[in-house]
């Protein structure tokens, strides 16, 4: 568990359903698929919550020039550290808050261009996932790998809790999924298998 808030990147494009942020360098912890993130809303004190559902590195003709060649270490480091490697992180909006209450719904307004997107602290993740209504937003999303995102977000939310609380959370999450996917037992079974604690 960690309580440090980490910057993921700055907002490039945004809509109420989600947004894309740009970041320069891939780091070991961020950006990571299924991570809970937050951005400031336009209204003072408001917050938009989201889940990272895609991390992509765009093609770059100059970097491609060095693939397969006997490239010096200095060049590799320059390409990775100095060049504006266009890493795009796509985020699904799953909730918003006004500083006091958190709602699991689409935000009324998207964040503003170049706003920072930060990783939620463990406490924020615990607070946000004290209810599981956001599952419906993921299940209703079209552009995301739904089942993978559900599993990753639930596992991340469990990891933000103490060990025994995490296990309880997994059971609660499984029950909620069973309720939402009662008409699709095969899919439900697949999800529950992936949530199972060994």
């Amino acid at each position: 568990m960690s309580d440090n808030r980490l910057n993921v990147g700055r907002v490039l494009r945004a809509g109420t359903q989600g947004f894309v942020v740009g970041c320069e360098v891939l780091q070991p912890e961020i950006p990571k698929f299924g991570t809970f993130v937050r951005a400031e809303g336009v209204a003072p004190g408001s917050v938009i919550y989201g889940l990272i559902y895609n991390v992509s590195l765009e093609d770059d003709l100059f970097a491609r020039h060095f693939i397969g060649a006997d490239t010096p270490e200095e060049v590799v480091r320059d390409q990775r550290v100095n060049r504006q490697v266009p890493i795009e992180v796509s985020v699904l909006a799953v909730g918003c808050g006004d500083g006091e209450t958190i709602l699991h719904c689409l935000p009324p307004q998207p964040p503003v261009t170049l706003d920072w997107l930060t990783q939620c602290t463990d406490e924020e993740v615990r607070t946000f996932t004290s209810r599981l209504d956001y599952f419906q937003l993921i299940l209703g999303a079209r552009q995301v790998p739904i089942d993978e995102l559900l599993v990753a977000s639930v596992r991340n939310a469990a990891a933000a809790r103490a060990e025994n609380e995490g296990e309880t959370f997994l059971v609660d999450a499984g029950r909620e999924l069973a309720r939402l996917l009662a008409g699709d037992p095969l899919r439900l079974e697949g999800l529950l298998r992936r949530l199972r604690v060994d």
Binding site: F62, H65, P72, E73, E74, V75, R77, D78, N82, R83
Partner: protein, 387 residues
């Protein structure tokens, strides 16, 4: 109305045919030039004085056809590159200003370290910025400011290096402020002095310096060969048509083996001779920077006299540039990156324009685009197809 590519198809076909026809003619001229290069190789001393008068490459003590193979390159050395870009002032814009952006890279060969990437943007907007010796800064005058900004940036980075380090500093383009040619003599003197001061700083820092010109179109060596064939007689050379006049020097030096350089010559530029101190008199040579078994990639390298006359520093410049070029294949890596760091992209230009608008509004300045610029912004975004 958009560009009608269909109307160009026939001209394109004719262009291809013309170039193919000219190839044989050019090959004959190259053969002729190479023969003269060998034939008059030892006439450097005789040609030196008339070459200056004839604006031809001025021979040094080296035979004209000298070829110097790739020297040994130190395992560890620092290569500093700089390049610049600018936004020209535009009277149709919201305000009259210019922007110069200099990109620089400090690359430490053999260190395994991340190279340092720098960019240094400057806006010119005060009366002092916009008028230099009472002349409005734009076009060539802005090019001169950019050249000065590049060499100053290079000198600053050289000064920051340890004096014990083996360092080569390279600027993209020429060391000669050619664009001064059409300016008043006092202006020429002042600007050349500013430039030479930066070369002095680089020299004091113990760094070798050069400039790199990729596929240059200059024909100064061809003029020298024509002069040589006319017995070094300037009057005769002026009167008789020069069969090599359209042949660029680099085409003749494509016979250099990979990594090899040509003889050294002195640039005949009047700016070089009238305004550069003897120690900084610009020399040049041609260099094949291509890798072994690759097609030739000829560059013109310019160096001041204090490098040309120091064989160990000259070898360092020679070897370092080839080592850098072989990272990409045929162009110094750090120069590619310096250009990238300096380049002002379309979106960056738009963001910069937005910043200008915001700062003007914040300062209470009410202004507008000229009508011409305004309508261009309407028609050039999402240009419609013809008919």
């Amino acid at each position: 109305v958009t560009l009608e590519l269909s109307r160009l198809a026939e001209q394109m076909r004719e262009m291809g045919q013309e170039l193919a026809t000219r190839e044989e003619e050019v090959a004959n001229l190259i053969a002729q030039a190479r023969q003269w290069l060998t034939q008059y190789a030892d006439q450097g001393e005789k040609l030196r004085h008339p070459a200056r008068e004839f604006h031809a490459a001025i021979p040094t003590d080296e035979p004209l056809d000298a070829v110097h193979p790739l020297p040994a390159v130190p395992e560890r050395f620092t290569f500093i590159a700089a390049d610049g870009a600018e936004i020209q002032p535009d009277s149709h814009e919201l305000a009259y200003y210019y922007l110069i952006n200099v990109g620089a890279m400090v690359y430490r060969h053999g260190s395994g370290q991340t190279p340092e990437a720098h960019s240094r943007p400057t806006i010119g907007y005060t009366e002092d910025d916009l008028y230099d010796h009472d002349q409005l800064v734009s076009g060539n005058l802005l090019d001169i400011k950019r050249d000065l900004a590049e060499i100053t940036c290079l000198a600053d980075h050289c000064a920051a290096e340890s004096p014990d380090a083996t360092t080569v500093a390279v600027v993209d383009g020429t060391l000669i402020l050619w664009t001064l040619r059409d300016t008043p003599p006092a202006y020429q003197r002042a600007k050349a002095l500013d430039y030479v001061r930066q070369l002095d700083r680089i020299r004091e820092a113990g760094t070798a310096v050069a400039s790199f010109i990729s596929r240059p179109r200059r024909g100064e060596v061809m003029r020298l060969l024509h002069l040589a064939d006319e017995g070094g007689e300037v009057k005769q050379a002026n009167e008789k048509p020069n069969s090599l006049r359209h042949l660029p020097d680099y085409a003749v030096f494509e016979m250099l083996s990979p990594g090899a350089r040509s003889a050294l010559f002195v640039s005949p530029s009047s700016i070089n001779h009238e305004h550069y101190a003897p120690a900084h008199k610009v020399h040049f040579f041609y260099l094949n920077v291509a890798a072994e078994k690759s097609a030739p990639a000829i560059a013109r390298i310019e160096v001041p006299a204090w490098i040309a006359e120091d064989s160990s520093r000259l070898d360092l410049v020679h070897g370092a540039i080839v080592a850098q070029a072989r990272i990409t294949g045929d162009y110094p890596y750090a120069l590619v990156r310096a250009d990238e760091l300096a380049f002002i992209s379309g979106p960056e230009r738009e963001a910069f324009d937005d910043m200008v608008v915001s700062s003007l509004i914040r300062a209470g300045v009410h202004t507008a685009l000229s009508p011409k610029k305004f309508y261009k912004t309407l028609t050039r975004q999402g240009k419609r197809k013809f008919r």
